[in-house]
């Protein structure tokens, strides 16, 4: 699998959320999960294997990259991730897609009222 091949593939909900979080700041996996849950407390919980599978996929598609190691307050080393420019592009394309989707939903709601 080459990084460019799947760049245009649709993003899953979790992948979108990961990109959204990383768009603000570089973060390690645990932090990403907590941030996703903080933003969407009623949403599905993020479980570790699924999260790292998505991170792998996103990295393989060139949307994120390994940003190095960060020491946390207890002195433990944590690998962090950062969003790439391609990732930001993909996120904004996804935002537009979702916005269109939301518009359609609103229209449907409006017509049913």
């Amino acid at each position: 699998m080459t990084p460019t091949m799947d760049r245009q593939a649709a993003l899953s909900m979790l992948e979108t959320q990961v990109l959204m979080v990383l768009a603000r700041d570089d973060l390690h996996g645990y932090g990403i999960a907590l941030e996703i849950q903080r933003r969407d407390p009623d949403g599905p919980k993020v479980y570790p294997t699924n999260l790292y599978r998505r991170l792998h996929d996103l990295a393989d598609r060139g949307l994120i990259l390994n940003a190095g190691t960060e020491l946390d307050d207890k002195g433990r080393a944590r690998k962090t991730f950062a969003i790439t420019d391609v990732g930001r592009e993909a996120l904004s394309a996804q935002t537009q897609r979702l916005a269109g989707f939301v518009d359609e939903l609103r229209a449907a709601e409006g017509s049913s009222e």
């Binding site: 919980k45 570790p48 294997t49 790292y52 990259l65």
Partner: protein
């Protein structure tokens, strides 16, 4: 490296378990991110704190998360470039395992989805499996408790009972006389430790303060508890100086009784209780939950002797094998002891061989037989259930022909299809097993309620981890039995046929052979079960329908234990009986009252007698039941006097000793009908026969007697029995007052009890029963067995009929086209019905024949439990076979008749 979870987790143990699971994931991921993954998992645990459901959900999801996403994680760090390789190359064991797990997970979730979609199938299969697995689990928990689980003593496999086998066959068992015991004791074997005890628990009166209660008493020799390997928790075992005639009066209490009387006060040891009217010093307290061979509350020294009780076979001898010895060595030594004893006794007694039986086997012969019977019966029900579910799966398999063919066409191998089917069966069996556990709880309760009083020592039976493991095994075996046939069947589909629309028929062609086998198997197994149930039921009805030999209407009996120091003389016993009878006779509604050593339907004292002026036939063993009675005994019970006179007040202590015999005695032992001319020696006196009475049904106790039988009996007046003899028989038997009342006997009970209690306030009444209850108690075991096996047989028949119905219905569904064509060509409906139904009726007949063969083989093992009916009783066999074939015919005809209403045009158009 996976970091140690203590650093990061508030849930160290769960984190550790999760860490083990993470080993399934590729190494680089865990090395780089294991910390974060565990932290995230613990975060979810933290959120779930306080709710069991949420906790369970976290674990389920986490495991699912690993199983689902793990196999898709590449074997490199996030972001690292991946080496190019083909997917199947160079897979490590770990990866293979991961792939397999993921596949099984996928199969299972696919299976669950299908089962949820086809809910009527799922419901039927789950209920059938649940019922069968539940019944098996319930019976298994009994078998486990009574037969598999070691007895609750240390090194229980070193415990045994001494057995005796008369030479030349006939007569044997675990009961011994005093001489045998003394020979074993005096041999001082180094191979084993031995202790004597009386296997019978008896009722005894225990007075504390102003109240009196009846407790269960067992008499054991010195060293009994240490031989069992369970010493008292407080105090000590009996010593050999206490265990001799006229030794000190001492007792050991059960933990429960100690708590009841002394509230667990340790000072109880050394204190005394009034047991059997005599003060006993408490020398020991047994541990909580200790059980001896009888369910006892209190133990006293046996004081074995060679006369009186020890003159007959009334003792059991417990063995504990020495650590350095083998059972073979112990057996050789026992044989030697037996041989020297035979020499010593010479002509006095029939020679015998001594050997041993393991304590567990020696303890419960009847119970063992009952449990074996029940296990076999439930296993058959389980087999029938498997056959049934197999049939359902087959039918479903043929509906799934197209799906399977599609899967195979896109590259799914035969193995994959079989795997899918087996996983589905496992899912089904798991659900069935869970439902089965619910059923098992119910079944256990029912069996326990019905079994109370049937078997002397009901141990607590419960569903514990051992039983759960058993259920899991049963379910697994079930899944394999019912799942494999359909799996192989389905995977043999022809892809081309199935996809070209011939699917259903393509599968059906091979399926039909299996179906035929299933019908035969179901009917065959049902016949075996039904025959067993029929024979047991006939036994029960036979015993219940026996003429009692007395008039049960209006009879009330009140038993009382006379193991009491105040009642060791003839005068005191007679005085007690007489004043009791006088008080009861004074009650309005009393027609008559008497007292006697035993009651109808009960086991009586059996002992030898010596004819004085008549000859016994060669080889006859002069053994009889013996019972003392008060005047008016026969009149009160309504036993007919066939010759001579009854025992009355004129038969006093100082008049000539007399005896009355029953008809069974005369038939067995008297050469002629001139009863009144004969005399015999029994119960310590030479007695003139003064009368013959009808035979009252008693429990059989020697030879090949039925549970309720016409047993020879001698009746003697209580006034003509000496104190020593009374004292002896009262250690085994509780005498009873017997009252006949006008009107409803149940209503008279309170007054009778009050009157009798007033005779001696320190003498507790042991039990009050009506004649119907005596009869019920006498055949309780047979009723219990008959009801349980019949219930299982009923389940079997219902399952078998449903199975046949289902099989025929789907056969008919496949023959719709054929039937439609025949009808269109002018065949009559009756003909169509015949085509559809006849094959399965024929198959049922084949199954029935095979079943009869199986039942004949099984019948001979049932022989020991049958009375009044032959093991090959033609009526039972005929009835069962006809009934079952009729049921099969009905089950076949209903769907067949529906087929005949087919509109030919409709059928043909569909095709």
């Amino acid at each position: 490296m996976i970091p140690s979870e203590q650093l990061i987790s508030p849930f160290p143990r769960q984190a550790s378990t999760y860490r083990q699971l993470l080993r399934l994931l590729p190494g680089p991921i865990v090395r780089d991110h294991g910390d974060d993954m565990i932290a995230l998992f613990c975060h979810h645990l933290e959120d779930a704190r306080g709710s069991f459901r949420a906790w369970l959900n976290v674990w389920f999801t986490a495991v699912g998360d690993i199983a689902r996403h793990g196999p898709r994680l590449p074997r490199r760090s996030v972001g690292a470039p991946g080496p190019h390789r083909s997917p199947r190359q160079d897979l490590t064991m770990n990866e293979r395992l991961r792939t397999l797990l993921a596949t099984l997970w996928r199969d299972a979730s696919y299976g669950v989805r299908l089962l949820r979609k086809d809910w009527s199938f799922t419901l039927a299969a789950t209920l059938i499996l649940g019922l069968a697995i539940g019944a098996n689990t319930a019976v298994f928990s009994f078998v486990d408790t009574y037969m598999l689980r070691p007895l609750p003593y240390p090194e229980a496999d070193h415990l045994g009972l001494v057995t005796r086998q008369a030479e030349g066959g006939g007569g044997g068992g675990t009961a011994h006389d005093g001489r045998t015991w003394e020979a074993i004791r005096d041999a001082h074997s180094e191979r084993f430790q031995a202790a004597v005890y009386s296997g019978w628990g008896t009722d005894a009166n225990l007075a504390t303060g102003a109240t009196a209660t009846t407790v269960a008493l067992q008499r054991v020799g010195a060293g009994y508890f240490s031989t069992l390997g369970v010493p008292p928790v407080l105090g000590r075992d009996f010593t050999s100086t206490e265990d001799v005639p006229d030794g000190a009066a001492v007792a050991i209490l059960s933990h429960t009784l100690w708590q009841q009387i002394f509230g667990g006060d340790r000072a109880a040891v050394g204190d005394s209780v009034l047991l059997r009217g005599e003060p006993h010093t408490i020398v020991g307290i047994m541990p909580k939950d200790f059980r001896s061979s009888a369910s006892a509350d209190i133990w006293v020294p046996l004081r074995a002797s060679t006369s009186g009780e020890g003159g007959g076979e009334n003792y059991a001898v417990l063995l504990r094998l020495g650590r350095e010895s083998t059972w073979a060595e112990a057996e050789a030594e026992l044989r030697a002891i037996g041989l020297s004893l035979n020499e010593q006794l010479g002509e006095e007694r029939r020679p015998f061989t001594l050997s041993f039986a393991s304590l567990q086997v020696g303890d419960g012969g009847m119970l063992r037989m009952l449990l074996t019977l029940l296990s076999t019966a439930v296993a058959m029900v389980l087999l029938i259930a498997c056959v049934n579910v197999s049939g359902l799966l087959l039918a479903r398999g043929s509906r799934r022909g197209r799906e399977i063919a599609t899967r195979m066409a896109i590259g799914g191998g035969r193995a994959a299809i079989i795997r899918q089917f087996v996983v589905e069966s496992l899912v089904l069996a798991t659900v069935g097993g869970l439902v089965g556990l619910l059923f098992a709880r119910g079944f256990l309760r029912i069996i326990e309620l019905m079994g109370t009083g049937v078997l002397a020592t009901w141990r607590p039976v419960s569903l514990d981890t051992r039983v759960l493991a058993g259920t899991a095994m049963i379910s697994l075996a079930t899944a394999l039995i019912f799942g494999l046939a359909p799996a192989f069947q389905a995977s043999g589909v022809s892809i081309r046929d199935a996809l070209s629309g011939e699917g259903a028929r393509g599968v059906a062609a091979g399926t039909r052979r299996w179906r035929k086998l299933l019908v035969v198997a179901e009917v065959g197994l049902s016949v075996v079960l039904l025959v067993a149930a029929g024979l047991l039921l006939r036994t029960f009805l036979h015993l219940q329908g026996l003429e009692p030999g007395f008039d049960p209407q209006g009879i009330v009996s009140v038993s009382v234990s006379l193991q009491d120091a105040r009642y060791e003389t003839r005068e005191s016993v007679e005085q007690l009986f007489t004043s009791g009878m006088e008080r009861v006779r004074a009650l309005p509604g009393t027609l008559s009252a008497t007292a006697a050593l035993g009651l109808p339907y009960e086991r009586l004292l059996n002992m030898g007698f010596r004819p004085l002026d008549f000859e016994l036939e060669e080889g006859t063993n002069p053994i009889t039941n013996l019972m003392y009675v008060s005047p008016e005994y026969f009149e009160t019970l309504g036993v007919p006097i066939l010759a001579g006179r009854s025992i009355d007040v004129s038969d006093a202590h100082d008049s000539a000793p007399v005896a009355v015999i029953n008809e069974a005695f005369a038939k067995a032992y008297l050469p002629d009908n001139a009863v009144l001319t004969h005399s015999l020696a029994a119960a310590g006196a030479d007695r003139q026969l003064i009368g013959m009475v009808g035979t009252v049904k008693q429990r059989g106790s020697w030879g090949a007697q039925a549970p309720v039988d016409d047993t020879p009996a001698i009746y003697v007046p209580v006034s003509q029995i000496d104190g020593e003899f009374l004292k002896l028989v009262h250690t085994w038997f509780a005498p009873a007052w017997i009252v006949r009342v006008a009107g409803e006997p149940g209503e008279a009970i309170p007054d009778i009890e009050r009157a009798l209690e007033a005779v001696d306030p320190l003498l507790p009444l042991a039990s009050t029963r009506l004649a119907s209850e005596l009869q019920n108690d006498g055949i309780a075991l047979q009723r219990f067995t008959a009801i349980l096996v019949s219930a299982l047989a009923a389940v079997a028949v219902v399952l078998a009929s449903l199975g046949i119905y289902g099989l025929v219905a789907s056969t008919v569904a496949e023959k719709r086209r054929e039937i439609g064509i025949r009808l269109a060509l002018g065949a009559r409906a009756a003909h169509a019905v015949r085509i559809a139904a006849l094959p399965s009726i024929r198959l049922s007949a084949v199954g029935a024949v095979l079943g009869v063969g199986g039942a004949l083989a099984a019948g001979s093992t049932l022989r020991a439990m049958l009375w009044g009916v032959a093991p090959n009783d033609p009526w039972t066999y005929g009835g069962v076979t006809m009934g079952l074939v009729a049921a099969a015919a009905i089950a076949s005809l209903i769907p067949a008749a529906r087929a005949a209403r087919v509109d030919p045009a409709q059928t043909l158009r569909v095709e």
